[in-house]
């Protein structure tokens, strides 16, 4: 791609650098000479470690994204927010009840939400953050857990929230409450655990462990494969 060589100006914490136009913000910063300690985690959009805010010259609009997933554009003024001081409640999950009161008790600031939708607009995962905050406020933990599922806890919502709420910590609490108390339990796994502790598979496993490679290869070749279309 010859046009790959096209260089554009970007402004990293206000300082101008020329970088190839096709790079992500993260790669552009490295191209410019930065070596990351903070602000760089998985480099794949999963860890939330590289939240970045930026604005274009002569544009009032403040934008945001993940440095590893956002491609640089001409005249981008950017700064990373590798850490945001966030309020996290301490709790013993075992002692909690999966009700709205729990959320409000641990995070009373939840009630300060003014539904301004800034959190949703800023979310690099395109999550309807305000919707799950409203669900949480209603005590609808199921929906809060479901809507917030893709949250990577990058901190941008909390950084912009005028009510000083830390949305993502409330979200993980909702998901844990749902996963532990509200989602139906997988009974078949407990059955298997009981079978294992009763020693049901001990002999078979011991035999396999001491079998020689010829027998193992034969067994491996002969094992039947569950058809793709089978149920469960």
């Amino acid at each position: 791609m010859t046009e790959d060589k096209k260089m554009i100006p970007i402004y990293i914490t206000g300082k101008k650098y020329l970088v190839p136009y096709s790079l992500t913000i993260m790669k552009a910063m490295e191209y410019a000479g930065y070596r990351y300690i903070r602000g760089c985690g998985c480099r794949g959009g999963f860890c939330g470690g590289c939240a970045t805010v930026y604005r274009f010259k002569d544009d009032y609009k403040l934008q945001s994204g993940l440095a590893c997933q956002t491609v640089v554009e001409e005249n981008m003024y950017l700064v990373q927010i590798p850490f945001f001081p966030a309020n996290k409640a301490d709790y013993n999950l075992e002692e909690l009840k999966p009700i709205g009161g729990t959320l409000l008790k641990l995070y009373p600031e939840l009630a300060r939400c003014v539904s301004c939708n800034t959190c949703t607009k800023v979310c690099p995962q395109d999550i309807e953050v305000m919707d799950y905050m409203q669900a949480a406020l209603r005590g609808d933990i199921t929906n809060a857990a479901d809507i917030s599922f893709d949250c990577i806890m990058c901190g941008l919502c909390a950084a912009r929230c005028p009510a000083e709420i830390v949305q993502y910590n409330i979200a993980i609490l909702c998901r844990r409450l749902y996963g532990k108390f509200m989602s139906p339990k997988a009974e078949h796994v407990k059955v298997r655990i009981a079978e294992i502790s009763e020693g049901k598979f001990d002999d078979e496993l011991k035999n396999l462990m001491k079998s020689d490679i010829k027998i193992l290869k034969k067994l491996y070749k002969e094992r039947d494969i569950e058809p793709e279309e089978s149920q469960r």
Partner: protein, 539 residues
């Protein structure tokens, strides 16, 4: 987003789709597999390996990039380094903040130990966080731990350490329930039955998932729980050496990446959970791994005398992104193939059954691109083959991709590629360190009071890991390490702190005339340009 040539190729793929969907490809025989691997898998090239000149595996061949870090000097001079002031005193020191480290910390704390968790980046920055596909456990009526065992060793080339595999498959259902109880939102039917699918090399559908953020959801849950407990966490502070007393591990030296200051930790027992090595970029392959995957734990344990196993190979994930350039190397989850997406070449043909093991899939893709020349070229001269993802919605119904693969869908949507309508271009990427430190089923290393859990340890997967067994390994061996390290800490007194093993290692290096100017562990990769580095001056 795709170029004209690529769109032409996609048209050919679409023309054959209806026919391909009915086409049955059979599994390769063992002979065919080995033939394919020998000819095309990067690990089977002898020039990628080098014989180690010193240390516990002296005389054995390992990957060149690993040998470079093993045959290297410490960051400290053991003859004049002051370790007399102890900064932290703890029962259990956990080094590493991924899935294995977090599991170990929780269980150690539950077993009455004081726990200190030190990690190089942020707590949670790890390969666990990135794992999309799932976690295996034989917990359905048609499945069993022995079946799981067979799949693991068959996939691993029958070289796996039997005791470790047995531990893995026996603990698996319990690991799932432990996570469920911590609040991980697994995908379930309305009656609570776990929704499970196949992965490459599985004989039963035993892949459990939390949409396609499985590792992320597990990691976020474990991290939240660790933060709720009385566990001290030190971020941006990797261990740069272990401390020993007469061959026993007695703690570690931490290095604050932000202030360059070091800290001495005295610990009764130490758990290494430092993860893998993707950022070494073996043979210049791209990688799916997180920024900190630089084999630090392997290096410091090797220096202290712990042998490694199966470090003569690396797992390439068959479907790394080959396009667009911005995400080259990132993973396209195996779950896509589990849900029916086929691999297709430039002429619209399939060339391998999609659920072979990862090594075989990788070799087949490399063969198709390099030898048969039916790959598709990108504008930056990457070559790849198509992964026909629109088939997923055709097979399972419209909207399946968005529901079951939201992370993948979003990843490509960011670059204007709709994977439910267009296929994805893929090529193998460096993904997993199959081998690692030798440990036993109690997660004990060969060094007394030192434990290993997760990707840093080797032997469970033989020379090829199956999808869904690394998250499992992190949880199973993390928990085992946590428990055993805590119990052991109750039995023993605090040891002396010395650097004798580093002195010895440096002597060995000198006697073997090794000095390549390399200091290890590496800690962080360096992606600055050569031109920039050449112009740097120290202040």
């Amino acid at each position: 987003m795709y170029t004209k040539e690529m769109i032409d190729s996609i048209n050919r793929l679409e023309e054959t789709r209806r026919k391909r969907m009915k086409q049955e490809l059979s599994l390769l025989t063992l002979e065919e597999k080995y033939d394919l691997l020998n000819k095309f898998h990067p690990d089977y090239k002898q020039e990628t390996l080098r014989e180690l000149k010193i240390g516990p595996n002296k005389g054995e061949k390992v990957i060149q990039e690993i040998a470079d870090l093993f045959e290297a000097y410490s960051k400290i001079n053991p003859n004049n380094f002051n370790i007399s002031e102890i900064d932290y005193d703890t029962d259990v020191l956990v080094i590493g903040g991924g899935g294995a480290g977090a599991s170990a910390a929780l269980i150690a704390q539950e077993n009455g130990a004081s726990v200190l968790l030190a990690t190089k980046l942020r707590f949670g920055d790890s390969n666990t966080m990135m794992a999309q596909g799932g976690i295996q456990a034989a917990d359905k009526p048609n499945d069993s731990p022995p079946r799981h065992y067979m799949d693991v060793i068959g996939g691993g080339g029958f070289d796996n350490i039997p005791e470790l595999v047995s531990a893995l498959v026996r603990d698996a259902p319990d690991a799932i329930v432990w996570l469920e109880d911590l609040g991980v939102m697994f995908d379930k039917e309305s009656d609570g039955t776990m929704i499970t699918i196949h992965g490459g090399g599985t004989s039963r559908k035993r892949m459990h998932s939390a949409r396609d953020y499985t590792g992320g959801e597990i990691m976020k849950t474990l991290r939240d729980e660790v933060r709720n407990r009385d566990i001290e966490i030190i971020e941006f502070s990797p261990a740069i050496e272990l401390l020993t007393d007469d061959g026993k591990c007695t703690g570690a030296i931490l290095y604050n990446l932000e202030t360059d200051e070091y800290f001495i930790v005295r610990a009764k027992t130490t758990i290494l959970a430092t993860g893998g090595a993707g950022r070494l970029h073996v043979q210049d392959f791209p990688t799916s791994n997180h920024y900190g995957a630089t084999a630090d734990g392997l290096v410091i344990a090797y220096r202290a005398g712990n042998p490694v196993i199966f470090m003569d190979n690396i797992q390439y994930h068959p479907t790394g992104a080959a396009f667009p350039e911005q995400i080259v190397g990132l993973l396209v989850t195996e779950k896509c193939r589990g849900l029916g997406a086929q691999l297709v070449n430039n002429t619209g043909e399939r060339f391998i059954y999609e659920l072979e093991t990862r090594d075989v899939e990788s070799a087949a893709i490399i063969k198709e691109c390099v030898e048969i020349n039916k790959g598709i070229k990108t504008p930056t001269s990457m070559i790849g083959v198509w992964l026909d993802t629109p088939m997923i919605d055709i097979i399972h119904g419209k909207g399946t991709i968005q529901k079951k693969l939201p992370a993948m869908y979003r990843q490509y949507q960011r670059f204007d590629i709709d994977m439910s309508k267009e296929p994805l271009l893929v090529y193998p990427t460096q993904h997993f360190q199959n081998g690692g430190l030798i440990v036993n089923e109690k997660a004990e290393t060969k060094i007394a009071n030192l434990y290993g859990a997760g990707e840093v340890e080797g032997g469970v997967h033989g020379r090829n890991r199956l999808m869904g067994n690394s998250l499992l390994e992190c949880i199973v061996f993390g928990r085992r390490a946590g428990k055993n390290a805590a119990l052991r800490a109750k039995e023993i007194e605090r040891g002396k702190l010395t650097l004798e093993h580093i002195k010895r290692y440096h002597t060995e290096l000198k006697e073997a005339n090794i000095d390549r100017g390399i200091i290890s562990p590496m800690l962080l990769p360096d992606y600055r340009r050569k031109e920039t580095i050449a112009r740097m001056i120290d202040i």
